[in-house]
């Protein structure tokens, strides 16, 4: 497998060095692996900190900036960051108004953020946490790790980020983040496995002519494998899986997300099919975002996320945002 890298061990640090020179509006601490908006801490503003394994770019460092995250901590590829990074990030962005940790539901992220919250609170920083778990492909029970956090992370970070930018309280920002998560559902498919730099070969075998249904964002295989389907059939399958789990009464935000190696030509075509199915099922789409936002290295495939919104959430979604990966209204 050919990759545009030096050596696997420095992939994350090299990317952060490149990010720093591309985005002078960010303060990038390459050694400690923390990406902070340069004007932080912003007086009186609740700070948002997220993070997780690298390999999902632009998530999370690409979502740092006015209207979204205050800081992000990138871990090793597909590995959660360590508590030291999160505590450092929280200390860098806390203005005294408190910090919201946005955590995707993976055992590693949960454990490390829990440890970090304890340590940060010892330093006098007020911490609230929201867990993102939107993936309907995963069985959620007392006896599993529960649903994965995937595409809804972007909705949570954007909407809670807008609320924080307006000066809303930690309690209110946390409540909005929870509301977004509770109203969001995702489903993903892979047409190929991804290749982590450390391993150098695809994480699972996916023969030509087959696809994985219900994949996450870490190159872990999905729940089911089938013969390759058309874009329209995949849209039917994904939307049905989501609507088996939720019945939106309001319009939805729609994210048609590329996993990293699927071109926009295919994603837009897939988006047309997703809209067709949603119209057939009577679901109104308020806003659509198409692109590579929550990726899985070089995996081919896509995920769909729906988030039911009311007027307040829609207003916050439309609010200005200025980050490397998401930018409008400014």
């Amino acid at each position: 497998m050919k990759m545009l890298i030096n050596v696997a061990e420095t992939v994350v640090a090299d990317a952060l060095r490149g990010m720093a020179v591309a985005h002078p509006e960010l303060a990038v601490d390459v050694e400690n692996r923390v990406v902070v908006r340069r004007d932080a801490p912003v007086a009186g503003k609740v700070a948002l900190v997220s993070g997780g394994g690298s390999g999902h770019e632009p998530l999370h460092g690409g979502f740092v900036g006015p209207g979204m995250l205050s800081a992000a901590c990138p871990g090793e590829v597909f590995t959660s960051p360590v508590p030291d990074q999160m505590v450092r990030a929280a200390a860098a962005v806390d203005s005294g108004a408190g910090v919201l940790f946005i955590v995707k539901n993976y055992t590693g992220d949960v454990l490390n953020f829990d440890m970090a919250a304890e340590l940060a609170e010892d330093e006098g920083i007020q911490i609230a946490k929201v867990l993102v778990d939107d993936d309907v492909a995963v069985t959620d029970s007392l006896y599993t790790a529960g649903r994965r956090g995937t595409g809804a992370t972007l909705f949570v970070e954007k909407i809670a980020g807008a609320a924080a930018e307006e000066g809303q309280s930690l309690e209110r920002v946390e409540a909005l983040a929870r509301q977004v998560n509770e109203n969001a559902r995702s489903f993903g498919v892979a047409l190929s496995a991804c290749t982590t730099p450390a391993k150098g070969s695809p994480t699972f075998d996916l023969p030509a002519g087959e696809l994985e249904l219900g994949v996450g964002i870490h190159g872990e295989p999905g729940r089911e494998r089938r013969a390759m389907m058309t874009s329209g059939e995949i849209a039917d399958f994904a939307i049905n899986a989501i609507l088996d789990d939720m019945t939106p009464r309001n319009p939805v935000l729609l994210l048609v997300n590329g996993m990293g190696a699927t071109p926009l030509l295919e994603l837009y075509g897939f988006n047309a099919e997703v809209h067709r199915v949603l119209a057939q099922r009577g679901v109104a789409v308020a806003r659509t975002l198409v692109g590579n936002y929550v990726t899985s290295l070089d995996m081919a495939g896509a995920s769909v996320t729906l988030c039911q919104v009311d007027e307040e959430l829609l207003r916050l979604w439309d609010a200005p945002v200025r980050t490397a990966g998401l930018r409008w209204g400014v």
Partner: protein, 203 residues
């Protein structure tokens, strides 16, 4: 009696074994996880070795607490907090004694394993590191060699199980038929204990 030197040897033996077996751990992690267990643990135990060389803690408890802290600060993922907690809590249970007997160590290790179960919410049979650690602790009264054998058997016995915790749990029934990488690395940790014990001149 086991002194600080014994525990340093245990940690460095684990570091060499993880380094040697990293590719195998990563290969086990590919079909049911995300193919990084070996590289993550290698990063952590390399840091443990470096820290022990630099700081040279004087008691068994301090060696393990330092090692655990290093793992939490360098590994990430679930393995960092879980292995870090295992060593830290075992170390704390040992207190500041300059030497511990094998019985006292077995008790402390059980406290460490209990802390891991509490943190990760996993029980025996969930296809995790617990499936190697619990049998090892149970066998410890019969010596380090017995613990090693029990841990290895426990790790192998995870193959037919369906994962209920961690990333492999997302696969549901498709996790069946693969040995758990976490249980495998836990067996390496226990095997290194037996190696350190053998070096001390007896089991």
């Amino acid at each position: 009696m086991l002194d600080a030197d014994f525990f340093r040897r245990w940690m460095t033996a684990t570091a060499s074994s993880v380094d040697r077996e990293a590719d195998r751990l990563t290969a086990l992690d590919s079909p049911i996880g995300d193919a990084d267990h070996g590289s993550n643990l290698r990063r952590g135990f390399t840091a443990v070795s470096a820290a022990l060389e630099k700081e040279a803690p004087e008691t068994p408890g301090a060696v393990l607490v330092l090692a655990g802290r290093q793992l939490i600060s360098t590994v990430g993922g679930a393995s960092g907090p879980l292995y870090g907690t295992l060593l830290r809590r075992t170390g704390k249970a040992l207190g500041d004694a300059a030497e511990v007997d094998e019985e006292g160590f077995a008790e402390a290790l059980r406290a460490g394993v209990d802390a891991v179960m509490q943190l990760g919410g996993a029980a025996p049979g969930d296809k995790t590191m617990i499936d190697a650690l619990v049998p090892a602790v149970d066998a410890l009264p019969d010596g380090f060699g017995a613990a090693r054998a029990a841990a290895e058997q426990g790790a192998e016995a995870t193959t037919p199980l369906q994962a209920r915790k961690g990333r492999a749990s997302y696969l549901g029934e498709r996790s069946i038929g693969h040995q758990d990488p976490g249980a495998t690395s836990a067996a390496l940790l226990i095997a290194a204990l037996a190696d350190a014990g053998a070096e001390a001149g007896g089991e």
